[in-house]
């Protein structure tokens, strides 16, 4: 009973496309929700500004940044920054009640803005915050929401065509929200390329009141414990990534991935089955339901390369795949393939790299 279940019946329904109801024709322009917590904009928001710019230009409409946050200098800085990433205008709801993310207050801010200014497309990052917010905003507005899109486009009639993996990541599907507005979609971090930042003067900013007082909000934030930097995985932004899959054969062999990664200064990751089996923690998962990576070098060891994984790594500059099965789908999108058992090759790689990359250490040992 998910989006995928109705694929067979979709053709008939799509053919019977109705004219957009009159009251929804007023919905114009593309909006990007600029996610920020404690004055820090999430990079996914700028990536979405890049994607939003393309959609807005195709439709011949404006691109607006939507900023929701505390009434302070940090929020203002995020508004200014949105113009450097291509906003034609910005909408702002600034209130100290919005200092911490809470579903109730942010949903109110967003739905009020949509109802007042009527965008045709609303994009959000598929982050923890973005998913929590998008689901309740779409339900409040009773409109369509497509999660985790990997491609956004507009068709000849100006409808948003949102493409995402389906069937557990083995196929792609294109989803439309035809007779409802706004058309909402979320996109995972690092899926869209980061657009160029061009210094620009601040443009038009439309402020909208929140219309809530603290007493109206049921949920209270007791405290916030930031993650320790040492425990954070920097996978999404790493220049080099080494990852392992089921081909490793046992949880103990995952150690070989960690060793190679630490030797070449890489972050380590894994494919989805290893997380489902509990071999590796979920913050290390690469793919549609894990992290999307864009490294300069990606080494995939014992990973077959289902779409689920593929969409998470296609942004890599150079992909090296190691797999025993020469017909594995990973060889369809890797640049270089080695048909061998990763468990046997990995220690040799670690050794060879450590010889080549630590000359200081080698010299010291020699003297």
């Amino acid at each position: 009973m998910n989006d995928t279940a109705k694929a067979p019946a979709a053709a008939g329904r799509a053919a019977a496309k109705k004219e957009l109801p009159e009251h929804l024709k007023a919905y114009k322009h593309v909006w990007v929700f600029i996610e920020q917590e404690r004055g820090q904009a999430h990079p996914v928001s700028w990536e979405l500004m890049g994607a939003g710019r393309i959609l807005a230009d195709k439709l011949g409409v404006n691109l607006a940044a939507v900023v929701v946050g505390a009434r302070n200098e940090a929020t203002q800085a995020v508004v200014r920054e949105s113009f450097n990433y291509g906003a034609d205008l910005a909408y702002l709801v600034a209130d100290d009640i919005l200092t911490d993310y809470r579903n109730e207050s942010y949903t109110k801010a967003m739905t009020d803005l949509v109802n007042a200014y009527q965008p045709e497309i609303l994009l959000l990052g598929a982050t923890i915050l973005g998913r929590d917010l998008a689901g309740s905003v779409a339900t409040t507005l009773l409109t369509g929401l497509t999660a985790d899109c990997t491609e956004l486009d507009v068709d000849a009639e100006g409808s948003l065509a949102a493409t995402r993996p389906t069937f557990g990541g083995s196929l792609l599907c294109t989803i439309f929200t035809l007779n409802y507005r706004p058309q909402m979609a979320t996109v995972r971090p690092r899926v869209m390329p980061m657009p160029e930042r061009v210094e620009k003067p601040i443009g038009r900013v439309i402020e909208h009141p929140l219309g809530l007082v603290e007493d109206d909000i049921v949920t209270k934030v007791l405290s916030f414990l930031p993650d320790r930097d040492s425990t954070k995985s920097n996978l999404a932004f790493a220049d080099v990534v080494v990852a392992g899959g089921l081909g490793l054969g046992s949880p103990e062999n995952f150690q070989l991935i960690r060793q190679l990664a630490s030797t070449i200064g890489a972050e380590f990751g894994c494919s989805r089955p290893l997380v489902q089996k509990g071999w590796v923690s979920s913050d290390r998962q690469i793919g549609q339901t894990g992290k999307t990576i864009r490294p300069k070098l990606y080494i995939a060891a014992g990973i077959s390369g289902a779409i689920q994984h593929r969409v998470g790594v296609e942004g890599a500059d150079y992909i090296v795949a190691i797999n025993t099965d020469k017909n594995a789908p990973i060889f369809d999108f890797a640049h270089v393939g080695i048909v061998t058992d990763a468990v046997r090759l990995l220690p040799a790689l670690t050794e060879a790299f450590s010889k080549r990359l630590s000359p200081h250490q080698r010299d010291r040992l020699a003297s």
Partner: protein
């Protein structure tokens, strides 16, 4: 305390294959399982019942065969299971799904007492949207607590609940009110092995089956395909890239051969890796 868990029966996606020639999904024989993320929700519900007493009701929407997963959920010790099944529900997207589930939860409230907490998993492994939980919360006016990693405290008298939830870059400690909807983060508990008596009871149990009408659906146009604002226009296999991987042979000194080959093909990588490893 009355606790409802929304659960979904899903195809075991690890076992779905694409036909190499026709590029179509081979669904025959793919076993169905309880959505793995939902197991954490079921376990968390059972733990709350252990502490505060009451009952756990499992709810699912799906084809008649979803009864198998409900019976499985009963073996863990849930008190009753409701299967929402009707052809009117077929083809529902997330918005239409939340309408049906919210309607059924209202009906469960009337029949078995209003729930204090509605649990869901973080997301399903087939749809992967994480949208249904928030949608159900919004429709029922429940406080929405997603990605919860720990329930710190429940004060039944005051009606408050304290939770820890994962947020970007840290953990939020929240105090909210019941009734609420909690989506449970994966890995926060370990599913129990049901007792023998629960297994026996599950085998004998009657699964409550509701049609749209039984559940109290008033507007059938809000259900299934008709009630779905999104439509799937095209399902397709990804384009194979024009160029496939170049296979390289590594010989009897595979490590050195690999490093040579890599730096020959991508000369810049050598200095980049040097930089990354400086200080190691």
């Amino acid at each position: 305390m009355h606790i409802v868990v929304c659960m979904k029966q899903v195809p075991d996606s690890a076992q779905i294959r694409v036909h190499p020639v026709t590029n179509t999904i081979m669904r025959q024989g793919v076993p169905t399982i309880i959505n793995p993320y939902d197991l954490f929700a079921i376990e968390e519900a059972l733990r709350l019942r252990q502490k505060f007493g009451g009952a756990v009701t499992i709810l699912t929407m799906g084809p008649p065969s979803a009864e198998d997963s409900l019976r499985k959920a009963l073996t863990f010790g849930a008190d009753r299971a409701v299967l929402l099944t009707d052809r009117f529900f077929a083809g529902a997207d997330t918005l239409a799904t939340t309408y049906a589930l919210a309607t059924a939860i209202r009906k469960i409230g009337v029949e078995f007492g209003p729930p204090h907490v509605v649990f869901t998993g973080k997301q399903t492994i087939d749809g992967d949207t994480a949208q249904v939980g928030p949608g159900v919360a919004k429709r029922l006016g429940l406080m929405q607590l997603t990605y919860v990693s720990h329930i710190d405290n429940v004060d039944l008298e005051a009606g408050t609940i304290d939770v820890e939830r994962r947020s970007e870059g840290g953990v939020q400690k929240l105090r909210s009110k019941m009734p609420c909807l909690i989506s449970v983060l994966e890995g926060v508990n370990e599913m129990r092995i049901g007792s023998l008596s629960d297994a026996l009871a599950a085998a004998r149990a009657t699964i409550i089956k509701w049609s749209a009408q039984d559940a109290g659906v008033e507007d059938i146009t809000k259900c299934g395909l008709r009630g779905s604002p999104t439509i799937v226009k095209r399902v397709f296999a990804p384009k194979p890239r024009a160029e496939k991987a170049q296979f390289i042979e590594l010989g009897d000194k595979p490590g050195d051969a690999f490093v040579d080959e890599l730096f020959k093909r991508r000369p810049k990588l050598e200095s980049e890796l040097e930089q990354l490893t400086r200080g190691y």
